[in-house]
Amino acid sequence: MLFNSFEFLLFFIIVLILYFRLPKNAVMPMMIVASCVFYCFFIPAYLIILFVVILVDYFSGIGIDKYPAYKKLLLIMSICSNLGILFVFKYYDFFIKTSNDLLGTEWGLLNVILPIGLSFHTFQSMSYVIEVYHGRYPVEKNIGYFSLYVLYFPQLVAGPIECPQNLLPQFKKERHFSWENILLGSRLILWGLFKKAVIADRISFYVNGIFKDASQYETSQVALGVFFFTIQIYCDFSGYSDMAVGISKCFGIDLMFNFNRPLLASNLKELWARWHISLYLWFKKYIYIPLGGNKKGIFVMSLNILLVFLISGLWHGAGFNYIIWGFLNGVFILLYLLINPYLPHSKHPIVKYFGILLTFTTVALIFVFFRSENLQQAKAVFTQLLHPSGKWIFSGTFDQFAYGNMNLLFIMTMIVGMFMVERKVSPPLSFFTHKSWGDILFCIGLILLIFFTGIFTKQHFIYFQF
């Protein structure tokens, strides 16, 4: 079930009413059932995988608590099980294909469809076991609450990846109906829906056309496609995250913000510290810092950064394009860290805006690998970019995919508008806290824009595939 669908709206209203109407003891089971129903709209059979993850990690936690002597073994077993599930469903075919191509083996492929959001809930579940292992969180003895921690539908399929300290205690606190929460949550949902339906999904037609066969387009059009994809993925994922935070807010449960104006960052390091915050927090906490972080000299730090970004690339998908994407991000961050001490540190707005533009351009070019289905597609895009044809963007080819100049101008206006709003108010929960007429008009404007210009063709959120 997609957040941007009518079924979800109905589902959400029913669950919300039940949440505040049912007796206290029935709320947690109801939320588990609701989350299962939500997940069943994708592939029902894959619920089994979710329950395997839940059972393995629940009993690992209990075991770690009960048998401290074996806690390391239990942690390893839990991590291996989670990564094993991830490997089978996400990476097995990739490794077999690579082996068949490079070594001439003839191993068969599994050809299974990737369970939606698998990387998200396995990482969240692993986070619990690691925290229990380190003694930072007491074992959760109630399997219901633990199941809800993994299954909680607002963040089940695309995060934010929450640690147990943030989420589990909130499930246990008193329910408290608040119009304030409902209004704040609804406004966040609106804002997320605007980014998804009005900007991301509209841009996607253009981006899809460019990446399908870049050789057919002018350099300027391909360049615009490359820039647009960065905007698209930002609006798609941050739009989803805003909606997830908003939906959860209506229940009175706070989720962390996953984005903090990343595309307005003035260097790549800043950008990744503000993009998909919960994932980078996970990598930092469980990989970067245990490996020594930046405390063991510049060489170890460089290796750690490269490793984290390589894993991050692989986390996003099983393909060389994702690995290259992760590797390039790591390399550019390292380059930035190495030359940063020699850069002029001026607070002049021109320097700042130049930094933002340079960072955006760099990240957009790296994202070419992320968007391309294979390396040939990426090569075609770069070939077009490196051989300028000199023709201007508005040269007519856009009509091929119903992209008139007016449409392009509309999108650009929306993008500029979005950045202007987010530049002022971010993270998004600081948004719309007032009840002024200006805000009410703004919300009405958003509803009208979504209603009249939103694309509702049941397009999946990009990050669902991870």
Binding site: R136, P138, Q165, E180, M256, A273, Y280, G293, P427
Partner: protein
């Protein structure tokens, strides 16, 4: 005689129950410190300006940390010391300690603190020592808990009075609560003007308060905790008149301490003052003000977290 004793006991039990409800956030803080075993990598310790001012949600998201607000309304330096030491007994050391401080904390040790909730924890050695160190009576309260109300201070009286007048924050229906941070979102109109503040009458630093402060700093050094001291934000008008002798004494003291122990200080200078509309009174923030303050501290922590200074 026996009837009146029974009546007094029953009344005191009822009264204590009401009191616990009234001061629920403070009791929650004490529960998180003394009983819980959940560890966080960032502690926000302070008085009401921290408890109702710093939302861990923003700290977590912006600074990529896992913070908990252990703010205790009407707390002083000995109380901060007690909370930190007790937390470290049962939890892992955090990477960051954000401590809300104010000038007057350095000039007094026993005033300006609501001690009543702590009497309920007298069975703990460290709490008993805390009272003993402050030369406060505690033996009677240990055996007859309701006698603690005989030792009500101004803060407790003020809180109870407000509760009877229906003005208490914690009696209002729409309370926002997240990881120890509490605030009422309703009926929070910002100030149109800033009330004149009472002039502090302190003249010299309190030795006991300094001992506790230095103990906190030494704990941080021992456990490799990055300490960030934050003066609370003030309305513009108040900030412009804060260069008092009191400020200079505290600043001089902190600078001296910084030569022995590395810690960070965030002053409420002109860059960190807010418009009066962000305050419910002369020093406490509205819901919007708390977001602004939380983002400000989170941005600073993010800077520390991404440099060598903050990484453990």
């Amino acid at each position: 005689m026996s009837t009146s004793v029974v009546l007094v006991i029953i009344l005191s039990i009822v009264f204590n129950k009401g009191y616990r409800k009234l001061y629920q956030p403070t009791y929650n803080t004490l529960h998180m410190v003394f009983d819980d075993t959940i560890s966080y990598n960032t502690l926000l310790i302070g008085n009401s300006k921290v408890a109702f001012g710093l939302n861990p949600l923003y700290i977590d998201s912006i600074a990529q940390l896992n913070a908990i607000n252990l703010g205790y309304a009407a707390a002083n330096l000995p109380t901060y010391d007690l909370l930190l030491s007790a937390y470290l007994n049962k939890h892992q050391a955090p990477r960051f300690l954000v401590m809300g401080i104010e000038n007057n904390l350095f000039f007094t040790d026993e005033d300006h603190c609501n001690k009543l909730p702590l009497y309920d924890y007298l069975y703990r050695e460290d709490v008993a020592t805390y009272f003993e160190h402050l030369k406060l009576s505690y033996r009677l309260q240990r055996w007859i808990p309701s006698t603690k109300f005989m030792y009500m201070d101004d803060y407790s009286r003020f809180g109870i009075l407000n509760a009877f007048r229906g003005k208490s924050l914690f009696q209002q229906a729409d309370i926002y609560h997240y990881k120890g941070f509490y605030i009422s979102k309703n009926d929070q109109k910002g100030l149109q003007f800033v009330p004149v503040r009472k002039v502090d009458t302190f003249t010299q630093l309190n030795q006991k308060a300094l001992e506790h402060f230095e103990h906190i700093v030494s704990i941080c050094t021992k456990h490799h905790i990055t300490l960030l001291l934050c003066f609370p934000p003030m309305p513009h008008q108040v900030a412009s008149i804060t260069q008092t002798p009191l400020n200079l004494i505290v600043e001089k003291y902190l600078q001296k301490q910084q030569t022995f122990h590395p810690f960070h200080v965030l002053h409420n200078d002109t860059n960190r003052t807010f418009a009066p509309a962000y305050f419910v009174d002369g020093s406490h923030l509205t819901y919007d003000g708390s977001i602004k303050y939380s983002i400000l501290i989170a941005e600073y922590l993010r800077h520390l977290n991404t440099t060598n200074e903050g990484l453990k």
